[in-house]
Symmetry: C2
Subunit: 162 residues, 2 copies
DNA sequence: TTGAAAAGTTCTATGATTAGACTTATCATT
DNA sequence: AATGATAAGTCTAATCATAGAACTTTTCAA
């Protein structure tokens, strides 16, 4: 059955996930951020089935994360590029990578990481902080309704445990 | 058909996605981070089918992101709690939320956001920076093979365009 | 002109997801 | 002690998405 839509949820996380699609979406973005822009490029790098890729790219374009344009130098090609919104997703990918590199490779350590192109030093670890720059822990943070939140949502947040 | 595994990919992003599972995985984590710890709690908050939830929770536990333990005060209940690894995923959720809040709610603005529990001010926007604290842009960053990278992977990185 | 490359589309088999009814064990109430 | 309600799943059926591979169409290069 069709997967339930996350988009109705009044939550940026759900909306972001709806736009990206699924795991393939993240991996397509990863490749796009590091140079791939051709259909067959994604197929080769990811091993994704062609029909699946076509559907995922269509979704990313529909959600304004990528744009599709004909290659001016080769009429056979299409080029897929990140929009501004798409580029800004690199923070999400970095967060995923830092977590995966820390927790999913044992003592061998990570086989790859993002680094400053100039110095070739790893990008620094993301930290969550206060407006004043004080680092925050998960238990110091809560979810708060914004100005546009419907009353029902506010009640939910008031009822939050912990 | 069974979705292709991302786990073989020598990349922290793919490994993280494999562990989290899919969109439901992220949403389950979101709820777990803000107080939900019971099976029915997830069902009610997410509207997720019970069998799907059972499968997702099993996956999260198997990957060391959550733990399942009997409730000492009520023999009917199980409690699902985040492990250290699971808690550290909140950076990923925050990145997703900040992106979704910025790009997916139009001019209405976001209906909810993460805030400092004490001051009730929004957590500050995540910034990618250099080891020295200099902010970095996507085009100043590249993917680099780590010490444990197999030779084949190093060749791939050498061949990276841009 | 012939062949290869690029970007999809089409096809089939199979696994995954959904919704809702059902089961089992435990708790609370009479 | 019996009854009903809760909690956490399991089971079943229909529907959907995915994988894998072959196929089509357009464009380029030799």
């Amino acid at each position: 059955m069709r997967r339930k839509s996350f988009d109705d949820q009044a939550c940026g996380i759900a909306r972001a996930l709806e736009a990206i699609g699924d795991g393939w979406g993240f991996l397509i973005l990863r490749e796009a951020m590091f140079g791939v822009d051709a259909f067959d490029g994604f197929v080769e790098r990811l091993g994704i089935p062609r029909n699946t890729l076509a559907a995922k790219l269509e979704g990313l374009v529909a959600h304004g994360i990528m744009v599709k344009e004909p290659d001016p130098e080769d009429g056979r090609r299409s080029r897929y590029a990140l929009t501004q919104a798409g580029e800004e997703l690199w923070v999400v990918l970095l967060a995923l990578q830092q977590w995966g590199n820390k927790w999913r490779f044992g003592k061998k350590g990570a086989p790859s990481f993002m680094a400053d192109r100039a110095t070739r030093r790893a990008v620094s670890t993301l930290v969550v902080q206060d407006k004043d720059g004080t680092p925050l822990d998960l238990d110091e943070v809560t979810m708060i309704p914004g100005p546009s939140a419907p009353a029902a949502l506010k009640r939910i947040f008031d009822a939050l445990p912990e």
